[in-house]
């Protein structure tokens, strides 16, 4: 079930009404049933995978809770890791692995035919396996107590607002909330609705309209050069943000209406002044996951420089591969790793350049330049994220500046009016972002009288209704 579907608009109010109508001790039953229904409306049989993850990690957690020594707990951690990552490997990476090895075998003329699995990638498998893995790792580390209530643990794994595309929650943050008594709080519900409204605006007005241009160009790359490639690449940078952040806002808003507090997933990433900062603002729940469960266990930055570089690169590369089984994602991750590494290695040089150009005397100009530079680094990396294959990504890189003077064709793909609308909507979003850097827009509005607040909300709602795309387009991150 998609957040931007009529089905969800009927499903969700029913769940909310039933939720607040039920006594606290019975609510988990409703949430579990609603979450499984939510997931099963896509492909019913794949709910079994969630159940397997839930059962294995519940048992592993309970067993680890009975053992005091880490060494004794380890086998249950391994059980959890093997089963969850095994599922992930089988459904998401097996064919990629098989195809890559096959290429190698063919290259050395080894007559071996490797099998290919004909399975559909289960929606959100990377999200819920990572969420449940964080639980078993935290239990193993003794940071949280194992959950005794199987039903509530099952809701933690399958909680529908964030089941298929995050935010990837931590057990220490989300699990206790299932025991809290959530009363119908008009303020929280209003806050949740506002977040959902903003999320729908990002998804349906910006992301889906930008997709009209991006899909046309990236779906048929060889017939474009110059401006269309450039325009599509810029638009994809905003499409991917608005698609994923839009989903996250709707997820967080949905949970908030039910009384739950989910972690922030995006904080205006395109206003970052460095790639390192970008990763503290983009897909925060995943970047902190990799930080806590991979980068730091590898030694983080408290090691020698060479080892640190290795830790950094391996974390970014695996983070790239998490997004999809394709070399393009690996390159995308590696590029970001290289950005951070190069930025670290050149910090002295950059500092001297700033002094030489006297940019430190004009901090605002310096800030704008840093933001623009960071955005362009991210946008360049998105080429590899969006292109279907490495040769096609390379085609974009090598052809995007060819024939730029041949007219404004890139702006008319999907209709010039569509392009103008997308640009205006992006400009509005970035204005809100700039404002939010210094003040919380929503809080700012909350202090204003209804005569100011209502027209803003009504206008956004109408813009979504009149200019949004209503074709129930999937969220990009569902495929991960």
């Amino acid at each position: 079930m998609l957040f931007n579907s009529l089905q969800f608009l009927i499903f969700f109010p029913i769940v909310v009404a039933l939720y607040y109508g039920l006594p606290q001790r019975r609510r988990w039953v409703l949430l579990l049933a609603a979450s499984y229904y939510f997931y099963m409306s896509w492909k019913p049989e794949y709910v079994v995978l969630i159940m397997i993850s839930t059962a294995v990690d519940y048992v592993a957690g309970r067993r680890m809770g009975l053992l005091k020594e880490r060494s004794q707990r380890r086998k249950y951690l391994v059980l959890s890791l093997v089963s969850n990552l095994g599922l992930l490997f089988a459904f998401k990476y097996f064919n990629f692995f098989s195809a890559s090895v096959q290429v190698f075998f063919d290259a050395i003329s080894l007559p071996v035919e490797l099998p290919v699995l004909n399975v559909l990638l289960p929606v959100g498998i990377s999200f819920y396996t990572f969420q449940t893995l964080s639980y078993t790792i935290d239990v193993y580390r003794g940071r949280i107590e194992p959950e005794k209530h199987l039903g509530i643990f099952a809701v933690y794994v399958a909680f529908f607002p964030q089941l298929v595309a995050g935010p990837i929650e931590r057990a220490g943050h989300l699990l206790p909330q299932f025991f809290d008594e959530h009363r119908f709080d008009p303020r929280a519900v209003a806050a949740g609705l506002k977040l959902m409204l903003w999320g729908y605006f990002l998804k349906m007005v910006i992301a889906d309209r930008a997709a009209i241009v991006v899909d046309q160009v990236y779906g048929n790359l060889s017939s474009y050069t110059g401006m269309p490639l450039l325009v599509a690449t810029y638009l994809f940078s905003f499409q991917i943000y608005c698609d994923f952040a839009g989903y996250s806002f709707i997820a967080i808003g949905t949970a908030k209406i039910l009384g739950f507090d989910l972690m922030d997933n995006f904080r205006r990433p395109y206003l970052s002044q460095s790639v390192r900062e970008f990763w503290t603002r983009w897909h925060i729940s995943l970047s902190t996951w990799f930080r806590d469960y991979l980068y730091i266990p590898l030694g983080g930055n408290r090691v020698q420089a060479g080892r640190w570089a290795f830790n950094l690169m391996i974390t970014f590369i695996i983070s790239g591969l998490w997004h999809g089984a394709n070399w393009t994602f690996l390159v995308w991750g590696a590029l970001h790793g290289a950005y951070v590494l190069i930025s670290h290695l050149t910090s002295g040089l950059r500092h001297r350049t700033v002094e030489l150009l006297r940019l430190s005397k004009v901090p605002r100009v310096h800030t704008v330049l840093r933001v623009l530079f960071t955005f362009h680094l991210a946008a360049f990396a998105w080429i590899f994220f969006r292109a279907p294959s490495l040769p096609e990504a390379w085609y974009v890189v090598t052809h995007m500046f060819r024939g730029l003077g041949q007219g404004p064709y890139g702006f008319s793909i999907g209709g010039p009016d569509n392009f103008v609308l997308v640009v205006l909507a992006i400009a509005f979003m970035e204005l809100v972002h700039l404002f939010e850097e210094s003040s919380q827009m929503r809080h700012f509005l909350d202090d204003k009288p209804g005569l100011v607040r209502w027209p803003v909300y009504v206008t956004i709602a109408l813009v979504i209704l009149l200019f949004g795309i209503f074709e129930e387009t999937q969220f990009i991150y569902f495929q991960f």
């Binding site: 048929n220 209709g415 009016d417 129930e472």
Partner: protein, 314 residues
């Protein structure tokens, strides 16, 4: 608890009021859409022109943009161009069925397209312009091509065409192409364009890229069209429309073996009385000035091709 309930009630009341305000404004916008945009759409303008000419129509041109822009009814008496952009066989079938039920009409022949993209799954976007198509009442069959869209969603689409179509308010002033007896006169000269192959590739990709080239529902509708024509004693002329060599090459690449692609359809046509096929795709390979773009004829091209068709059949 009672204080919370009061807060909650007040909140719900306000929420309801907010929803009513948004709904009221949406209805106003929808009314404006129906009054300003819809009558100016090529669909409605065609219907209006058709209703003015109704008793005198014997020959219909039906199908998609290749027909809409490619057949000029001024060349053949008692003909009308009832095609519409993006129209597929399912839509054509239901439209023709409704027309045949009318007692004030005596349709004797219909010209239809049989192009490389005619069965492409890109043709089955039944939600687009559903506000128009809903009048032909085939929602039950539409569900077969878009099972993920609920009947309620389709109903809403039909009743509130303004949803997601706000840009149409801007576009309504941009339409400059003439519409004469349903025929849309395109300008432009493809022969003058420098990047013909690239344009052709893009246009072919729009129709056939990432698509099933023989969508079962459209094949079935094609067969039903033949049955409908046979039952009503109507002559059907299927036409593979003239295209540029660049477009033909690009589209053929998606199809593969073009002869094998056409074979089952041609067998069905041969087995139907009064049905025939004209392959004119290469007719103007050397006359690119007759095209508006790589696949659509312009005004002079349409006139020339309609004369060519008339000499052979009408």
């Amino acid at each position: 608890m009672s204080r919370l309930s009061q807060d909650g009630t007040r909140f719900l009341r306000r929420g309801l009021f907010f929803a009513l305000v948004v709904a009221a404004l949406l209805l106003v916008a929808n009314a404006a859409y129906l009054a300003i945009v819809a009558p100016q759409s090529v669909f409605e303008l065609t219907e209006q022109q058709f209703s003015q000419q109704v008793p005198d129509v014997r020959l219909l041109f039906m199908g998609d943009s290749h027909v809409k822009d490619g057949l000029d009814p001024r060349v053949i008496p008692e003909s009308f161009n009832f095609a519409s952009p993006g129209e597929n066989y399912l839509q054509t079938y239901w439209k023709l069925r409704h027309l045949l039920e009318r007692e004030d009409l005596d349709i004797q022949a219909v010209v239809l397209p049989l192009d490389l993209h005619s069965f492409s799954s890109t043709r089955t976007d039944q939600e687009a312009y559903y506000w128009y198509w809903s009048r032909y009442d085939f929602s039950g069959e539409i569900r077969r091509s878009i099972p993920e869209v609920s009947p309620l969603a389709l109903r809403i689409t039909a009743l509130l065409p303004v949803l997601g179509n706000g840009l149409e308010f801007v576009r309504v002033n941009w339409r400059h192409s003439e519409l004469i007896r349903g025929f849309q006169v395109l300008r432009g000269d493809f022969g003058q364009l420098p990047d013909k192959a690239e344009i052709a590739e893009r246009q072919a990709a729009e129709h056939l890229g990432d698509a099933t080239v023989r969508e079962p529902l459209l094949l079935e509708s094609f067969a039903r069209l033949l049955e409908l024509a046979a039952d009503n004693d109507i002559t059907l002329v299927f036409v593979r429309f003239p295209v540029s060599p660049q477009y033909n090459a690009a589209a053929s690449a998606y199809i593969g073996d073009v002869d094998a692609f056409y074979e089952p359809m041609l067998e069905l046509i041969e087995g139907t009385p009064n049905a025939t096929f004209l392959d004119a795709h290469a007719l103007y390979f050397e006359s690119l000035e007759l095209f508006s773009n790589s696949e659509h004829l312009n005004g002079p091209g349409a006139e020339a091709f309609t004369r060519y068709l008339a000499e052979r059949f009408f």
